[in-house]
Symmetry: C3
Subunit: 225 residues, 3 copies
């Protein structure tokens, strides 16, 4: 049985499965589902109609589908919007904000104070540093590394599979170094390295690495500064 502290504020029609741990002064909105094994620390707030602690699934076309025995952990004072889905085996640090309709897969780490925007998606095995901004509808593919203080503009797109499913290939997401800024609707190709404090223009297609502090734009990218 799950123990719900008296200081928690729980909405109507909330489903909390067995083995969920709930801290003090937690808020849970209406119609939200918390699946077994989820750990919710003090002062976390979760809004309505979310599904948290999802176990990975898939069909025969899909790689990387495995059962995760790990917990979803939401650290102190993190805020989760409405209609959000988050998987088991993921750790979200203190003071993170996850916008409505966002989705975060299994085995993801999100650093302290970062923002995962509205309808943004973070795929499995990716790491996001501290104080990052992942804007609305941005897409972080699987096996991506995002260091601290990175800004991903709205609708940024990534991929991690050079052969688009045609060959066996180790999936490689982009590596985005600290302080880099990516403009809205830019496309990042598998495994590109975006240097520290670099700037990628809106709508750019990043086909090769970007050096530290470079400014690039265009399709494919060219150096501007």
């Amino acid at each position: 049985m799950t123990h719900i502290p008296e200081s928690a504020k729980v909405g109507k029609n909330v489903v909390i499965e067995e083995g969920v741990q709930i801290g003090e002064r937690v808020t849970i909105g209406h119609n939200t589902v918390i699946l077994k094994g989820t750990r919710i620390e003090n002062e976390v707030s979760i809004n309505s109609n979310c599904v948290l602690g999802i176990q990975p699934s898939g069909n025969k076309k899909m790689r990387n589908s495995f059962a995760s025995n790990d917990q979803l952990i939401l650290k102190k004072n993190t805020k989760i919007g409405n209609l959000v889905s988050i998987y088991a085996g993921t750790k979200i640090a203190e003071n993170v904000f996850v916008g409505d309709h966002a989705s975060i897969r299994e085995n993801v780490m999100i650093g302290e104070g970062s923002v995962v925007g509205r309808a943004a998606i973070v795929e499995l095995n990716s790491t996001i540093g501290k104080s990052c901004t992942i804007q609305t509808l941005a897409y972080v593919t699987g096996n991506t590394v995002i260091e601290d203080n990175v800004f991903l503009g709205p609708c940024v797109s990534m991929s991690n599979d050079k052969y688009m499913g045609a060959k066996d290939y180790e999936l490689k997401g982009p590596i985005i170094k600290k302080g880099a800024k990516i403009g809205n609707n830019a496309s990042l190709l598998p495994g590109v390295i975006i240097g520290a404090y670099s700037i990628v223009g809106a709508g750019a297609v990043v086909t090769k690495n970007v050096k530290n502090s470079e400014v690039v734009a265009g399709v494919p990218i060219k150096k501007i500064r």
Copy 2:
């Protein structure tokens, strides 16, 4: 206590908080959440698993997060899809259609007869005119002005922050004049003015203003006609 007229048709597991106003012949689907202060006028229909009347929230990384005391108002005969989120302090006029999975933030105005497509997102402080079509997955950034009869194609992207969070800057969304048409997956930069009856091609990156009735395309945009 909320008064629910006998003419209303309310689904199962619906949560209606106190102080919600509900007109005649309103339909509300199953598992939908209507938060306090929402005003729903006659003949409005809302489908299942929505969350309406959300209060703004955020963390320290985020600007523009403030408490709104205003109501969400849905005017007569407006239709809301499934799994939709809409914030408090927003006014949606008569005969609007909001598609499934769409999200509309606080302090937004949407004019009569407009369509906000499936999974489209409208950020805070933006205005959309009458008879506009905001297609599927289009992204309307904060502080955007869209006049009447505008067509935003699917997956159109915008931004409103020239410095991507690096400096203090007054956020400026695009200004899209009446009758303009923006092709799918075009990217609009902060503060650009798109002239009346102009046409922007699919995949274009709009880095500067577009004159009335001009036709532009490319990355960055060039004049075609």
Copy 3:
């Protein structure tokens, strides 16, 4: 009244309307809504907070809005994620996987073993073949034909209306032949034909047809191989 077999596993707060048919060993997550007329075959699993069997709706701005009397059919062993919406009049074959937050409209056919990714959208009257991968956030417009073994990368965008609502025009989505691969965030224009086993680069804007086995990229596309 709907008969729920003893072998079915049904979560809490699930709403199952009348006339729903449920096979053996079906799993339905918490807070999911199954609307009337839906047929769920053996071993299908559906996760939490979904809405399935939705009737089409719209306002005066929208074409193609009609009442559908057909069923939503989910064939054997298909898996549906969380927070998914699917319409009536659509048939999803055996062993399909539909990711969280995906939305599939009315009168769609999805072939055996295909994947519809997280937050991907498939509009009305479209057909997807067998063993296709429709990646995360990809957008399949209405009246699109996708043959077998096609790969649509993340955030691929399409449109089907050359005049963007300005004229009466028969809506034509792209036709994507078998084995074609489309890179992430590419934009496809109305009615383009993408040849069999062709490859379209990430961020490309496809303004004209692509021949069988061609490799194209750029804005607008040029032939690379």
